[in-house]
Symmetry: C2
Subunit: 601 residues, 2 copies
């Protein structure tokens, strides 16, 4: 199984031609980087991916993790991969130098993770989780915890996790019951059960560090009584030895895909000897955890876009080489068959995939860039980037995940019967990518987050900033020959978005929360399409501008492809918002009126 899983040319286009990543180096915070060093980082992640990750993609799927004598056994390569991630500085790549990080721009880190995840999503998850957990420790934990945990995690010796979900508390985090009992010492005794914990235990590391949400005994009910704890599988005693901390794996889930990484069920404190260390202040745990959750949500969107990328290139390769049929209307049965990419319907499916993959990548990098701006923008501008990032996070997560499924499904369709067989990797991609609209908050939860929280927060400030940002890009695009025709459509889309949002706001005031949020998922879908259209406008603009100066025919083809894909998106995808808008503004609350008993017979 050899093949292309991502386009470096495209990532560089996004990094340097659409977004001015090289320009970030002008900021003191990023002074140690420049375009040349950035290219080296990209090359390094490509080499790592080609050498270590892609070759075992299939094997990690076929030999899924299993529970053996209280430990989860994973693919033997996981240990060397984690060490490679550690030694190469990948886990702390975007961390501040003060935490021994590389202070790499997030946008570049995002590109690297797209490479890694498109080569082997499961393999990348171990490091990504460790990175997120370490960031949480770096941000909020006491120095003594930082000192013990950060170096081991950044080196890839210890695994990080996020331990939130419980059997009765999945989407409803407020129902968490895992309890922390004060001991009067510098630790609590933890007791409870967590389920669906990614990389919750495995033999590819020497220790596992859980960032766990629980309740201090007697804390208020609901989200206001949730605290954050660091709970290691093995705690460190005064002499520096690792001692078992009463964290037991009770189950490894058998999943349809994403089988290279274990999802576990964990018991904490069955023997009353599980010590947890409070991170930050009591009862503010959910707020802290949102840092990791938001990062993980972007990470999930990224994973979905990356898998869709790998599936797209598999489909493209097949479509350019597989011969079947003749041009429509050709009559001579003796003529040679043509590559199936010559059929309009195959091109439509490939254009959809490219539009989803590169559009999602654009939006994810846009989010990463906003994160970078938090470090380098003047103090008074930072709120702007924070708000935009908050607003776009559920969209980047969900659009990439939901459309990533369809995109991967189209990849299978391009391969026909072969796509359904294990001889080609697309069937695995299809199974792998199905997790993404579920983990780190389902699409339904993201919809409620977007409409019920992000759009209305600070009296719509983030929402209005988004409109303003896109309109400013529309103004720039209107001056670019070959792109201007897209701007009217995008402006109309923004008007529809405004109208629908206003309508829903009114509805909420008049009819209450339930009616307001009934179709929040559709609102999210609509917003997602518009956000991706914006990204395609940016990409079409960059392609048009570059096109004029392009001399190599490969470049000309690439830019033409960009322009056609933008045209595709505006012709086939963007119009879908009208139907969503119609539904969102017709005020028949049928999903609320429908009764559970009407589903029975």
């Amino acid at each position: 199984m050899a093949g292309k899983f991502i386009s470096i040319r495209n990532l560089k286009f996004l990094l340097y031609e659409v977004f001015d990543t090289a320009g970030l180096a002008k900021a003191p915070y990023f002074h140690q980087h420049n375009k040349k060093s950035m290219d080296l980082v990209l090359d390094a992640s490509m080499k790592l991916s080609q050498k270590m990750l892609f070759p075992i993609l299939e094997e990690m799927d076929r030999k899924a993790p299993y529970l053996d004598n209280g430990t989860v056994k994973v693919h033997p390569s996981v240990r060397s991969i984690m060490r490679e991630f550690g030694d190469g500085g990948w886990i702390g790549a975007s961390f501040p130098e003060a935490w021994d990080g590389e202070q790499l721009p997030h946008i570049l880190n995002c590109a690297c993770h797209l490479i890694i995840s498109s080569a082997n999503y499961s393999a990348g998850v171990y490091a990504e989780l460790t990175s997120g957990a370490a960031r949480l420790i770096g941000s909020y934990a006491a120095d003594r915890l930082k000192k013990t945990y950060l170096p081991n995690m950044l080196a890839g010796r210890w695994q990080g996790t996020m331990a939130l979900t419980e059997p009765q508390a999945g989407s409803s985090l407020s129902d968490i019951t895992t309890t922390a009992y004060p001991t009067g010492k510098d630790y609590y005794l933890l007791k409870g059960q967590k389920v669906f914990i990614s990389a919750g235990d495995h033999d590819g590391v020497d220790n596992v560090v859980h960032m766990l949400l629980g309740r201090i005994e007697g804390a208020p009910a609901g989200v206001k009584g949730i605290s954050l704890f660091l709970v290691p599988k093995h705690r460190v005693d005064d002499s520096g030895n690792l001692i078992f901390n009463d964290v037991v794996v009770s189950q490894v889930f058998h999943k349809m895909g994403y089988r290279g990484a274990p999802i576990t069920e964990l018991s904490f404190g069955e023997k009353e000897d599980c010590r947890g260390f409070l991170v930050g202040e009591p009862n503010r745990g959910l707020m802290y955890m949102f840092q990791m959750m938001n990062g993980a949500r972007i990470g999930v969107g990224l994973g979905a876009a990356a898998i869709a990328s790998a599936a797209y290139y598999a489909a493209l390769e097949y479509s350019q080489s597989r011969r079947q049929g003749r041009k429509m209307g050709a009559k001579d049965p003796d003529a040679a068959q043509v590559p199936i990419i010559e059929h309009a319907d195959i091109r439509r499916m490939l254009l959809f995939q490219r539009a989803v993959v590169e559009g999602s990548e654009g939006l994810l990098m846009q989010c990463a860039l906003y994160e970078d701006m938090l470090h380098i923008a003047p103090e008074e501008e930072r709120e702007r980037y924070e708000l935009l990032l908050d607003l776009l996070t559920p969209i980047a997560k969900s659009y990439s995940s939901e459309m990533g499924i369809l995109s991967t499904s189209f990849a299978i369709q391009c391969l026909g019967g072969y796509g359904y067989c294990e001889d080609f990797p697309v069937e695995q991609y299809y199974r792998d990518v199905r997790i993404h609209p579920i983990h780190e908050g389902t699409t339904g939860i993201q919809g409620i987050d977007l409409l019920g929280r992000k759009v209305i927060m600070k009296e719509g400030k983030a929402f209005f900033l988004f409109l303003e940002t896109v309109r400013s890009d529309i103004q720039k695009a209107a001056r670019v020959v070959g792109v201007a025709y897209l701007t009217t459509q995008l402006e109309n889309a923004l008007k529809i978005l405004e109208e629908v949002t206003a309508h829903l706001g009114d509805l909420g005031v008049k009819k209450g929360q339930e009616v307001f949020l009934a179709d929040a998922t559709l609102y999210l879908e609509m917003f997602g399409i518009i956000a991706i259209a914006w990204q395609w406008l940016l990409q079409a603009m960059a392609a048009c501008e570059a096109d004029n100066g392009a001399s190599r025919s490969a470049d000309l083809n690439f830019y033409q492809g960009k322009r056609y894909t933008a045209r595709y998106f505006f012709a086939y995808e963007l119009p879908k918002i009208k139907v969503l808008a119609q539904r969102l503004t017709d005020s028949d609350p049928l999903t609320i009126e429908m009764q559970s008993s009407y589903f029975n017979d």
Copy 2:
């Protein structure tokens, strides 16, 4: 794994309240049936499904077929299942009595197959293929072949297949090269290779009978040189013994799903000793095979709807029992959590599933009813039913298959993380149903069949018959209180369908075949939504009429559910045709102008 996979109440509603199946018995051809005997047939297939098929659904997936010493080993139950299908008369159920069939109405047979396939799609395929092959033999083969093959196939002792696809001839059947050499005797010698042959070999039967497309040596190129052959794995010698006929299995494909049935690669005549018997006249094979292909296409749609049904009931059961979160806007964190079906977004997803499942079932039964009418309608009306059946076949196949995937995906989403795990059956359904837009002609092929052949044949006669039929139902519905509000929307949809079709017709004349058919898949999608809206109008009408007379509260709930689901379909699904229509009438041929090289970088 116990649970409901289909609703008998709903099937009876469709059979007796929407379509007048009991009334068919008035026709002499169906004289031996009545409502009571029909109910008994339904009960029998339910018992068979619950007892033999559903219990091994998971096991047949986990222990997939494998090649062992030249024979494909399948689940040991396949043999008893085939015999049960044979002894119970299921294989020839809808065959004429003259062929030892039961002369069962197709519409009832369709309901039975929905039951069987929703219990275990793979298990039902063996019998369904045998039935299709036997029907082809009954229709076109010489008496001596009928005499030898039909009894063994109807008894479930011999497996039937359709052997069309070759490595270089998948969607492009005209490129078949398997060759038949005349011998001067009553058989030809066959030589060639076939791939993706469902149930092409297995140890659950004593023989396999391939209905194979090949070319008689020297036949013209293209479809005009294709003939139909009956090629058994073992031929029968003069003394009635089975002799190996040089048909060798070279591979069993490893598939993502649909793993209970083997898909094989076969070699015919490697040792120059493979005898095949011509069926019908030379060079007319494709025309004959279309009988089996059309039946199989309906069968594929049926399989997809059935799997979606099973997934829907699994999701419904989970949604009614799983508690998570509280009503939107509820503030008390100490209040008990509610079943997730109380959340509007879950209801929306369940309504979508129900709309797809029951809408598809309606359209499939509608097709089956047209097939029944071919037997009992006055001679001069038969063309009408034949044309409608021809027109609706690609739609019933593709809508059910494409939407079946989305429906099953929504079932997973209702279950969240659990839906992604093997503990629940929905992940298997999701893998199983992905085959349906591929086999028996991909969705792309169905689109070309619909727009490029069915809509324009006989100067649009089938198309106009469809419009006339739906409009006549609209007139009836306009008089039913509680349904009339749907009729305007459906009438508008028909107008859009007419406009788009006329526009495309013009475009074809002016710009040629390639432009005409470039978006045939979208045309198919649009037509499918309208056809299902029509079916939901019929169901809403029947529910409204019955509602008034309903006395049991269970019935009231059922009819309310029907009405809400129709309302859902018209509010959320039908409007999608506008976007499709916009794309189909905007004349930017970008998928044709896009070049293969633009996809490179």
